[in-house]
């Protein structure tokens, strides 16, 4: 089957149907789509990043320890998400800046559960540092937004070279910083 539409291709890939060119989108790719398109391109190529970078280490640590007692990890092919006891999908963010990327990552999980597994769930965005939790529900509007993002991601990762580096406020804490700017 050849599906021209990225969303169809993604769904076919996720459902294990035969596809000429499988198309995968991970949660982190959705996040990067909103943070930095260049970073998204690097991620899609599995480009090795500097694990010693302090920010990366910090981000990982918060994620690993927050709510570790009451959540369960679920691996669903191209995505891997965390469920709370009550069945809601939780996404933990180390800081409350850049809320949209985290929110869209979570929306993507909800969309994926809905479209691939036919499971309807609600989500919660958690900021452990600020002891804040925000509900995220998959509205029709969010569904549209997710599908538009999938199209946008497809366009970027299909390019043979990444979008050029542009200085952004979070470049300083990005794992690709030295790679981009050397």
């Amino acid at each position: 089957m050849t599906a021209a539409d990225p969303v169809d291709r993604l769904l076919a890939t996720a459902r294990g149907e035969p596809v000429d060119e499988p198309f995968r989108v991970t949660g982190v790719m959705v996040q990067y789509y909103y943070v930095c398109e260049r970073e998204l391109w690097f991620e899609s190529r599995n480009l090795e990043i500097d694990r010693e970078n302090a920010t990366v280490v910090r981000g990982t640590r918060v994620d690993e320890t927050a709510y570790s007692d009451k959540r369960e990890n679920l691996n669903l092919g191209m995505i891997s998400l965390d469920l709370l006891d009550d069945g809601r999908v939780v996404e933990v963010k180390p800081s409350s800046t850049l809320t949209e990327p985290a929110e869209m990552q979570l929306s993507y999980y909800l969309w994926y559960l809905d479209r691939v597994a036919d499971i309807q769930r609600d989500g919660v965005l958690a900021h452990p540092r600020e002891r804040k939790r925000e509900p995220v529900v998959l509205t029709a509007e969010r569904k549209d937004k997710v599908e538009t993002a999938i199209g946008g991601i497809h366009e970027i990762v299909s390019q043979s070279s990444p979008p050029p580096a542009e200085e952004k406020p979070f470049c300083d804490s990005c794992a690709y910083h030295d790679f981009c700017w050397c």
Partner: protein, 331 residues
């Protein structure tokens, strides 16, 4: 993660709980060497080690660079890389096989290398030395570097420039330390042996820098792959020799910190002895730790990190098609 440790004595290097222990053959005191922050161990003496040590170093991603007979670089034991990237290697090979692309990279390396030699000569020109003619020769060589030239001609241009460059050593160094002629294997005089030793340290550090990327160290552009084991290191080392090895040499010799008592001269050979090697590596390691303001990273970086950045730059070029600008000393 960037400290180099040099071991000069003969003995046994072993794991001892979470550190390394050096047990010297001469019955001297055992030394404990912290492994945190270690990038690589440089073994200059006769050292025994076992597989237990190897897996420990592998876990901590620390490399061993081995210097064998007469202190020539003889090889490295590299930790398994955390990540390998098939895509990177495929692109590396593609660039090699596309002769246009290979020439372009080889030309860039030669351009950077000549620039860095020239910077040294310019630095000493006018400080009681008249090196104008050598600068002219280097500039003439640089003008001939063109990405349309076949790789062997690029190598030839590099060699011509290097010959002119080495003539400046006779001017820069005191009369008892004259190079007269650069020869290899075995180095017949003091300066030759200092150059060889310094170059092999630069080379080994480039091996470490390349390991930090997913680049394959055996696929190279200026030098022929497989000419030696890590030929990509030879490519990168050419850029850094003038900045690291040669500057250390000039400094040590001109300040009399190295003298003829630091060498062992035998029929047809002249080599640094242990005290000479210690003096040299100390100054070399200090140089690696020096920092310089980086024009685009907006922070200070060490000379050692410049080699890592060079590997990043090459990798970036190969994966993104963005231009590769060779390292050229800017300060």
């Amino acid at each position: 993660m960037d400290r180099n440790y040099h071991v000069f004595s003969d003995g046994r290097l072993e794991r001892s709980d979470d550190t390394l222990r050096l047990v010297p053959d001469d019955g001297g005191e055992k030394q404990y060497i912290p492994i945190e922050n270690a990038e690589a161990f440089f073994l200059h003496g006769q050292i025994d080690f076992n597989t237990r040590l190897m897996s420990f170093l592998n876990d901590r991603t620390v490399a061993l660079h081995v210097f064998g007979w007469e202190d020539y670089y003889s090889g490295s034991v590299m930790p398994k890389r955390g990540q390998t990237s098939g895509k990177t290697v495929v692109n590396q090979v593609r660039a090699y096989e596309d002769s246009q692309h290979r020439r372009q990279l080889a030309a860039a390396i030669v351009r950077g290398s000549i620039h860095n030699m020239r910077t040294n000569v310019v630095y000493y020109n006018g400080r009681d030395h008249d090196l104008d003619d050598i600068i002219e020769e280097l500039e003439a060589a640089a003008a001939r570097v063109d990405k349309e030239l076949p790789v062997d001609e690029l190598l030839g241009t590099e060699a011509t420039a290097r010959k002119a460059y080495y003539r400046s050593f006779n001017e820069i160094l005191p009369s008892e330390f004259q190079l007269s002629q650069r020869e290899y294997n075995p180095p017949p005089n003091e300066i030759n042996s200092l150059i060889s030793f310094g170059n092999s340290l630069v080379y080994a550090n480039c091996v470490s820098a390349i390991r930090a990327t997913a680049l394959d160290p055996t696929i190279s552009y200026l030098h022929e792959p497989g000419e030696r084991r890590y030929s990509l290191s030879l490519d990168l080392a050419d850029l850094f020799k003038p900045v690291l090895a040669d500057r250390v040499l000039f400094r040590l010799v001109n300040r009399n910190q190295i003298s003829d008592t630091d060498f062992e001269t035998e029929l047809g050979s002249c080599l640094l002895n242990e005290s000479g090697r210690k003096t040299y590596t100390k100054a070399f390691e200090e140089t690696l730790e020096r920092t310089v303001e980086h024009p685009t990273l907006n922070r200070k970086v060490s000379y050692q990190y410049l080699m890592r950045l060079e590997a990043y730059k090459l990798k970036k070029h190969l994966l993104t098609g963005e231009e590769y600008d060779p390292f050229q000393r800017w300060w």
